[in-house]
């Protein structure tokens, strides 16, 4: 199945947190939850270039990513997309990704409510992001999907 299949796109549009599996240069596995945007046939996962996910993608571009619809407990579809990814630190790209991410995850009633409830954590959050910036640059893991398949959710 291709990623532009309507059933795959339906999951991609409704999923909020992707879980990306990667391999290190010596073949050790990892898997990390990341926010993502589906953009013109690409999947952009926002992170920073010092993180394990980004370092692994630089070492081995093959990735396997799971998507599910977290907010609908009656929909048990799990979509797995495999493909090749690259790490993009271009300022214009990550700034666009920041804007799209803010629109998806913050500038919604639920997103704003989450921030308002945790208002006291906004300053620590800014320090946390700045701390990340001292370690490296923000980046986008740019995934070009090659294969999509549905897995049976088995809980």
């Amino acid at each position: 199945m291709k990623v532009d299949d309507p059933t795959a796109l339906d999951v991609l549009w409704r999923c909020m947190v992707a879980r990306i599996a990667t391999l290190s240069s010596n073949g050790r596995p990892s898997i990390n939850p990341l926010y993502f945007i589906y953009q013109n046939g690409h999947i952009w996962l926002g992170t920073a270039d010092w993180t394990l996910a980004a370092r692994n993608v630089k070492a081995d571009p093959r990735v396997s990513v799971l998507f599910e619809i977290e907010r609908d407990h009656t929909d048990h579809r799990i979509l797995r997309i495999s493909g090749r990814a690259s790490v993009n630190t271009d300022r214009e790209v990550w700034r666009l990704n920041e804007r799209l991410t803010a629109r998806k995850y913050i500038l919604t009633p639920s997103g704003l409510r989450n921030y308002l409830i945790h208002f006291r954590l906004l300053q620590p959050m800014h320090y946390y992001h700045a701390q990340s910036a001292e370690k490296g640059r923000p980046c986008v893991i740019d995934l070009i999907p090659e294969r999509a398949e549905f897995l049976n959710a088995d809980r």
Partner: protein, 144 residues
């Protein structure tokens, strides 16, 4: 207000901030044990000939053991003793994001009580466990 929420220009100019504090999201794994009991989302990662494999799983935490069932229909399975990473996470919005991340090895296991028979269960023997909770972001003593 919105600029507070989404303006991350300071990422490119961290030196404009006051002296850096060390902020952590990390929590003790024991404080994420509720995830092991509720299992909001569970998945496993391992290497295969085709690259990394992310696999949705059924998970049971029984007597401190991490028991994992991969559907027999899955086209890829971890080998015995192969290194795997188990991730159990929850949350959608930033301050709700929590996870426990367990790196270990896969060992064959008996079927847990009350689980469907005739399935292939593994136990993840942990080597390293970390957990995080963005709702607990806080300053800690800088150990660097």
């Amino acid at each position: 207000m919105l600029s507070i929420l989404i303006n991350r220009d300071h990422i490119a100019n961290a030196s404009s901030l006051p002296p850096m504090k060390h902020i952590t999201r990390d929590i003790e794994p024991v404080d994420a044990h509720d995830l092991l009991e509720r299992v909001p989302r569970a998945c496993l990662s391992f290497a295969s000939d085709d690259g990394p494999c992310a696999q949705s799983i059924a998970f049971v935490w029984r007597d401190g053991r991490y028991l994992v069932d991969i559907p027999e229909t899955a086209n890829r399975q971890p080998a015995i003793d192969q290194e795997v990473v188990l991730l159990i996470d929850e949350g959608v919005y930033f301050f709700d994001l929590r996870a426990i991340y367990i790196r270990g090895h896969a060992k064959p296991s008996d079927t847990p009580d009350a689980a469907p028979a005739g399935r292939r269960w593994f136990e993840v023997i942990p080597l390293k466990t970390v957990a995080w909770d963005y709702g607990t972001l806080r300053e800690v003593k800088d150990e660097s």
